[in-house]
């Protein structure tokens, strides 16, 4: 019996194509799971970000900032005749 190279290659090609198909199908599924998992992680992080943004908003509310500045940094409101020096060209205070 003579070895028929063309037939062999054809069969090989079909087998490789079939395996590739299965492989890509599996890869698609695996990536699907991964994306799903990542989307869940993203959701958790989004949730954390929301909570942190809210905490930040609470911490920086004007009333608190003013109270904090008055208590710890000796902030005083500018008075009527008070002179406030602001840096201008060529001078440093």
């Amino acid at each position: 019996m003579r070895f028929n190279g063309n037939s062999f290659l054809s069969i090989l090609l079909i087998i490789v194509a079939l395996f590739s198909l299965v492989f890509f199908k599996m890869e698609q599924r695996r990536l699907g799971y991964e994306v799903w998992q990542l989307s869940r992680t993203e959701k958790i992080h989004q949730e954390k970000l929301r909570a942190q943004n809210l905490a930040f908003a609470k911490l920086t509310r004007p009333e608190r900032v003013e109270k904090y500045a008055k208590t710890y940094w000796a902030l005083q409101r500018a008075q009527q005749s008070q002179i406030i020096q602001i840096q201008t060209i060529g001078i440093q205070f």
């Binding site: 599924r29 990536l31 699907g32 799971y33 994306v35 799903w36 989307s39 949730e47 954390k48 929301r50 909570a51 943004n53 809210l54 908003a57 609470k58 920086t60 509310r61 004007p62 009333e63 003013e66 500018a78 009527q80 005749s81 002179i83 020096q85 201008t88 060209i89 060529g90 001078i91 440093q92």
Partner: protein, 654 residues
Amino acid sequence: MKIRISLLFLTFCFVWISLLVRTSYLQIFPNEKLSKLMDKQSQTAITLNNRRGKIYDRNTKELAASITSYSLYADPSLIKEQNELSRSLSKVLKIKASSISKKIKNTKKKFVWIQRRLPQAKMEKIKELKLKGIGFVKEAKRIYPNEKLLSQVLGFVGSQGRGLEGLEAKFDEYLSGKKIKLKLQKDARGRPLLINGKVFTESPDGYDLHLTVDLDLQYQLEKELLKAVEDFSAESAVGVVLEAQSSRVLAMANIPNFDPNYPLRTAAQFRRNRSVTDPFEPGSTLKTFTLAAALKEGKYQPNSRIFCENGKFKIGRRTISEADSKHKFKWLTLSEVLAKSSNIGTSKIAIGLGAASIKSHFLDFGFYQKLSTDLIGESRGLLPKLPWKKHLLANISFGHGIATTPLQIANAYASIANGGVLKKPYIVESITDGTNRVIEAYGPKSIRRVVSKEVANKLRILLSQVTLPGGTGRNAQVSGYPVAGKTGTAQKVKTNGRGYEPGAYISSFAGFVPANSPKYVIYIAVDKPEKAFYGSEVAAPVFSRLAKYALLKDSSAPVMVNKKNILAINTDTKVIQIKKNAIEKLESNVKVKQWQRMPKLTGLDLRELIKRVKGQRLDIQVLGKGYVFATEPKEGESLLHRKAIKVHFKKAME
């Protein structure tokens, strides 16, 4: 044998063909029942839960947001060691173990809440304990991080997540969002297979609201109103700040306010936005619009003289007197009528114009009509039907017998400030989705022109004189900036029965700054102050402090009263020429006094220099370090009409 084989073959063929036909039938022809069965086997439904949108101020600071919280429940029938569970939970929840034990005592119950709306951190801590018989349910929680700030405007949401008051109620449709249910194919373990891109593209969340409000200005307004209520032992106070050119609401406050995180702790009357819901008699702040009508009709000019009857003006059996019984004015010009807040002068102007004309002009200025579509529960106010008797017309002309909301008054003043156009006040700038795509955008909208530019400019000058020495609004002055405004002291109408409550007043001030180029329109009203009651004593100082804060916050340069600024508020070329000539004539006659000349500053250090020029309202440009060696202008030169001086410093005296 052959026949048998043939029969067997035919039987097989028949069976296989039957199976093939049946299979083809099932596959090709639609069958609802089978489709459902197939879907059930291979599909899973997931729900994308909606989350309420956020509310931001004009600088994208969060005013309201929703986060996921976790409500802890227990199934007492599954709990074996109740005491141990109570002790463990009490440590995390920071509540008494006995109170938890009480809740889970009845083992016949299948479901009891232990604590609602816990933060994620606490939920994770409890999960780490791995306790049996407890579980969590996800619930959305609305948070207002600034607590009482802007509370009546924002409103609040109920336990079911629906907006019940304020913007939360008005824009509930936009804010709430909609749950989305998606069907996905699942695998053998029930995990969804990613074949539906909608999971990523569809968002069930509500839209975000972007307001025109400035949070810092809002805080300052609320702080000042609270201070006024405390200082004068008042019942309540309201305040509105509008952007002069566009009628954007920059701040809107009502004191007392409430914490929308816990709305039920406050009485309902303090939860509504009284700046738009509660009309009251505005008092003298309305005189401005009677005078506007007079100028618009052309029957009066700012220097027209009116006889003010020596403080008593009889109309039939009734007598109109001035707000302060000591005031017995004789002849006043129109501008003095406003500056001195003469009731009699205003009444006579109104009688001269007639009731129909006054009513029509008041309607033009936006009274007795709803202005904003953003704010819930807005009142039109009250304006009696025509015909008006003479004494009623007189009363209405100075702000009694008519009721307006604070927003209406502020917006009417804004129309004068912006050059005569009544604009629609609004508080929602835009609505965006989660990706910042603009769904709806709002902007300034003109309703109508109410007075010409020329009349508006005249009114601005008249209102500026109210805050000058001799006017009632001196306390509203802001150093460095011209202020235009009007005081108001209105008697309070009895809530039951006719007439006025004795000794009860609403003190108010309405105005705008800077008068020459208005940026902010501010209205302040303090209800039933006890320690003083004149608008000039109670509301004007609040206006002054708030206006000063607003101007400093946006770094508005102080205004020097000079030729340019005076002329800038009148566009009529003839008037400009007349004024130019008058100013030039005045300048040529003015002798420069000693204190108006450049003093000797050479050799002074910076501190001494500042002491020397203090109070001269000069901008000093400092150049170099050390001691003064030269000045521009030079010593002894005139300082008249100078905005700034230059001072050159050297390191050491030579």
